[in-house]
């Protein structure tokens, strides 16, 4: 996709005009928009939090361009006009120039920008309000446990939020530090061992917004992604209702055999499937694993082939993760896959 096309990426809503300047900048100055739709880009915000920061960025960007061009112009001037044997060295001490250009002007700009940024900081720090839905996110090495306040069931690496509403996110960690970052929705908040942090999410259009752990957390820090899925309110309510209910019952023979293998085998020691005998708490709750966007917190796509590979030996897919290779009977594997795929 060319830059011009990308710059014309349709924008809807009231802030369309406000973004024209930055879009032109993106198209001309920086080839930023190569294929902007694919990246979880802070410059393609989809919610109130990230939009604040995007606005601040373009202000800072343009100031930086002016400052840089000014310095470059002075350098080029010196390189063109202050060389050669006939150039007379001048011995003045233009202290006023240095003070104004090096301290005075920067001070004015910095104070102004600082003032603007305080407004943004305050906006990011506002509480989403007592009625906002609350998601409880717990960081683990190397996945995200997700629960909704007042709902029994848990899920992993995927957070559903209602479009247009602010959702409180309560962050804790079960082990080391992690950082919760969904660039298109909200800047980072770290997960601090022994403490609780809060942030909020807001998406103004439906969609999937990729996030990733941003604080180095050990071996598989690279594979600790999550997906925020913004859906209309009714879908969100339906989603919570499903999380509160038992996992879907198996409907085919293969799925039934798979469930049996799951509950009676080693799987149940670590994983939960709601409404079955599997109540392990070490690994992610698998009650809706079939519908998730990925396996291993973004390590591989969620399809039958990768699922089989993961069960057989998760250590080749995501070396160092907590799940040991499973001694699953080759004949049982297709059943297990069928069962897990049916959980959505």
């Amino acid at each position: 996709m060319g830059t011009t096309e990308a710059a014309q990426t349709p924008r809807t809503g009231p802030d369309r005009r406000r973004r024209t300047g930055p879009a032109v900048a993106a198209a001309t100055l920086l080839p930023l928009a190569g294929c902007a739709s694919d990246a979880p880009s802070a410059l393609d915000p989809a919610g109130a939090g990230a939009q604040r920061v995007e606005g601040l960025w373009w202000l800072l960007f343009w100031i930086s361009v002016v400052v840089f061009v000014e310095v470059l112009a002075l350098l080029v001037w010196a390189l063109i006009f202050r060389r050669g044997a006939r150039t007379r060295v001048r011995h003045g001490q233009p202290l006023r120039f240095v003070t104004i250009a090096g301290a005075g002007l920067p001070l004015v700009i910095l104070v102004a920008v600082y003032g603007v940024s305080l407004r943004d900081l305050a906006a990011l720090g506002t509480d989403p309000g007592p009625d906002a839905p609350t998601v409880e996110v717990t960081g683990h090495k190397w996945w995200w446990e997700v629960r909704y306040e007042g709902v029994a069931g848990a899920t992993a690496n995927e957070i559903h939020i209602p479009v247009g509403e602010r959702v409180r996110v309560r962050l804790r960690t079960a082990d080391v530090l992690h950082s919760f970052w969904v660039p298109q929705l909200m800047p980072k908040t770290d997960l601090i061992a022994g403490e609780t942090r809060e942030t909020w999410l807001h998406a103004d259009r439906p969609g999937e917004y990729r996030g990733q752990c941003a604080e180095y957390c050990g071996l598989q820090h690279a594979h600790m992604a999550l997906m925020v899925v913004a859906v209309p309110r009714p879908e969100f309510d339906a989603r919570l209702a499903r999380l509160a209910a038992p996992a879907p019952a198996p409907s085919t023979d293969a799925e039934r055999r798979g469930q049996q293998a799951f509950v009676q085998g080693t799987c149940a020691a670590c994983h939960t499937v709601r409404g079955t005998g599997a109540q392990g708490r070490v690994g992610p709750d698998l009650s809706d694993v079939g519908s998730r966007w990925s396996l291993g917190a973004g390590a591989v796509p969620n399809d039958a082939g990768h699922l089989g590979g993961w069960i057989a030996n998760p250590q080749t897919v995501k070396p160092g993760n907590q799940m040991p290779p499973q001694p699953v009977d080759a004949a049982r594997l297709p059943d297990l896959i069928a069962y897990l795929r049916s959980l959505d």
Partner: protein, 635 residues
């Protein structure tokens, strides 16, 4: 011998040579206290560690050239990025700049050595052994793997078993001895050893930068040492300083680390800025504009840098008020850097540019450092910081600051002082090629990181998925890294070529303004046959200062009996008395070796060996400090 200084008669020179020159032998190689030899060793050793850290970076960039690459395992990648950062910060940048300081400070201030030559030798040996101690862990797969800032609880013994983090804590504690000793030495040297007449307001800007850096080291390093000592105690003996379950606090590590860590950015950059101020006069044919302003800026940075550490912690959830304070302080600290940038620009706009390789690197420095500076001002703003910190945007930012602010000045310094250090001229064409490759390589590598950082790529990931618009730009960065590597290789080729084949350098090939250019290239062991009497800020350009070393120079500045150099007053540089300098000694090496044994024993938990090493350390220090008879005998 053809020397610009002719005040000392041949007998004086002979006696000086006899008293100061060390016969080339293995013994003198191990026991030397000559600041020039030690300075050269610092430069070479730091260059070696730079090469290792650079190769680590190339391996990482090769791994990241494509999404989903499995050239390196996550274990290997995590050790490489930790060693890359740790070595570049602790084993390259500061020691390299200390190397320049060691070689140049006595020459620039007109002294015959550092204030404490043996401490200086000791500092070098400790640096060498600490560096080897840390790098030696890599072949065994036991290198530090917690990132260069080693956040707890990831670095606790539960989450990082094995020796990795013990190598880190002990290695940095060991190295800290060297850095602290070096800093004390610089402060005393610059305040007490200046040539008579060099009042504080005639001290070269480079020396100002080194002294300010040394003060920052003295105040910042204890925080890091305490942090590492606590982590070691936590890991080895379960002390629980950082364990929430035991009433400890994980953020304590971060606060202490960054109370050191932010001043450390300036500890790295400040001497670089000093090099720029030293190089410019020779290639603009005039002094740097606004000397008092630049000095003020240096001192202001040294002070303010202690009040901005929490901007490294804007995402941990601090109270809003502290965000406001640290954000303001972090914005303000860009002002003194702005003053220096515009002082240099004004110098270039008023002077006559002589476009040789050192000036090219200075221009490259200004371009790069300004870009790093504007993104730095962005990071001062909490809301923006929270979005891009720990992404590749911050990787881009700090490489612009550190490559721009330290590496480019170091390269400028290498070309500028190579004739003085080796006595040989480098090949200009080779230097220009190296500059353009380094400059282009640097920007091709690091500029795209701004982009994929904004596109959401976090730092410290050993791999990344395709299809997120990260792949193409990562490939560009990798190509840039190889270009940069070729450029740096050409620098090395240039240095080796100069040493082997370069034509002999005159005392002052550039028309520099500071005192090192008033003596031979390379300088004799005693630096100056006659210690000059300084009459201005640019002593080499000043006829009266030059005259002061000619006929009629008084004996109190020749001091050919024994190893002596004048001591002067701190502010005004008034002549106080000659001071006797120590001779070569094996004790620094013995003490450093014993410390190596001590830290190795602590690493492997051989506590009886450690206790024995402590006893030997105490004995050696006592022997070292025992009042000698030599001093009285000579006066």
């Amino acid at each position: 011998m053809d020397t610009p200084a002719a005040g000392a008669d041949p007998t004086d020179r002979e006696r000086l040579a006899e008293n100061w020159t060390e016969r080339p032998s293995l013994r003198s190689w191990l026991t030397t206290v000559d600041h020039k030899r030690i300075g050269r060793r610092y430069l070479v050793t730091a260059g070696f560690f730079f090469a290792l850290a650079g190769i680590s970076a190339l391996l990482m960039r090769t791994q990241l050239a494509n999404p989903g690459s499995d050239l390196l395992s996550p274990q290997q990648y995590n050790q490489l990025f930790t060693m890359h950062g740790t070595a570049m910060i602790f084993l390259f940048a500061t020691p390299m700049l200390f190397g320049f300081g060691n070689f140049l400070v006595p020459l620039m201030i007109g002294s015959r050595d550092m204030a404490f030559p043996r401490l200086n030798a000791f500092g070098y040996w400790v640096f060498l052994f600490a560096g080897l101690f840390m790098w030696a862990s890599l072949p065994f797969g036991a290198a530090p793997n917690g990132g260069w800032f080693a956040y707890v609880p990831l670095t606790s013994v539960q989450d990082s078993p094995g020796l990795h983090l013990d190598v880190y804590t002990l290695g940095l504690l060991f190295l800290g001895i060297s850095t602290t000793a070096g800093a004390i030495n610089f402060i005393v040297t610059a305040l007490k050893m200046r040539a008579p007449g060099m009042s504080l307001n005639r001290m070269p800007l480079f020396v100002w930068a080194i002294v300010a850096t040394a003060f920052m080291v003295i105040f910042a390093l204890p925080a890091l040492n305490v942090d590492n000592a606590m982590l070691f105690l936590d890991r080895r003996f379960g002390a629980g300083f950082f364990d929430p379950a035991a009433g400890g606090n994980v953020l304590l590590w971060q606060h202490l680390f960054w109370i050191f860590g932010h001043p450390d950015v300036y500890i790295i950059v400040m001497p670089g800025l000093g090099i720029v101020s030293a190089v410019l006069p020779a290639f603009t044919r005039r002094g740097v504009v606004g000397y008092p302003l630049v000095v003020l800026a240096i001192v202001a940075i040294a002070i303010i840098s202690f009040g901005v550490w929490a901007h490294h912690m804007f995402a941990v959830g601090l109270p809003q008020v502290s965000y406001g304070f640290f954000s303001a302080a972090s914005s303000i600290i860009t002002i003194p850097s702005g003053i220096q940038i515009f002082a240099w620009l004004a110098t270039m706009l008023l002077g006559r540019l002589v476009l040789r390789t050192p000036l090219l690197f200075v221009i490259g420095f200004i371009v790069t450092f300004v870009l790093g500076g504007v993104t730095g001002a962005m990071f001062a703003l909490t809301a923006f910081d929270q979005q891009v910190t720990d992404s590749y945007f911050v990787v881009a930012h700090f490489h612009y600051v550190l490559v721009g602010g330290a590496l480019f000045p170091i390269l400028a310094g290498i070309y500028y002082w190579l004739p003085k250090i080796t006595g040989r001229m480098y090949a200009e064409r080779l230097g220009r090629w190296a500059f353009w490759l380094v400059f282009i390589g640097m920007h091709v590598t690091f500029f795209p990181m701004h982009l994929y950082g904004l596109f959401g790529m976090p730092r410290r990931v050993y791999t990344y998925p395709a299809g997120l618009d990260w792949d193409g730009w990562n490939l560009v960065s990798t190509v840039g890294a190889y270009v940069l590597a070729v450029g740096l290789l050409l620098v090395l080729v240039g240095v080796v070529h100069a040493v082997r084949r370069g034509r002999p350098a005159p005392p002052d090939p550039w028309g520099g303004d500071t005192l090192e250019w008033s003596t031979d290239s390379p300088p004799p062991a005693y630096n100056f046959p006659v210690i000059p009497r300084v009459h201005s800020l640019h002593p080499t350009w000043d006829a009266r200062t030059a005259e002061s070393t000619g006929p009629g120079a008084t004996a109190d500045r020749i001091l050919s009996a024994g190893r002596r150099t004048p001591l002067t007053s701190e502010l005004d540089g008034r002549y106080e008395r000659p001071v006797e300098m120590p001779e070569a000694s094996g004790k620094p090496l013995v003490l450093a070796l014993t410390l190596l044994v001590l830290f190795t024993a602590l690493l492997f938990a051989w506590y009886p060996v450690a206790a024995a090493a402590v006893a030997v350390v105490a004995g050696t220090v006592a022997g070292w400090l025992w009042p000698g008879r030599r001093a009285e005998a000579r006066t």
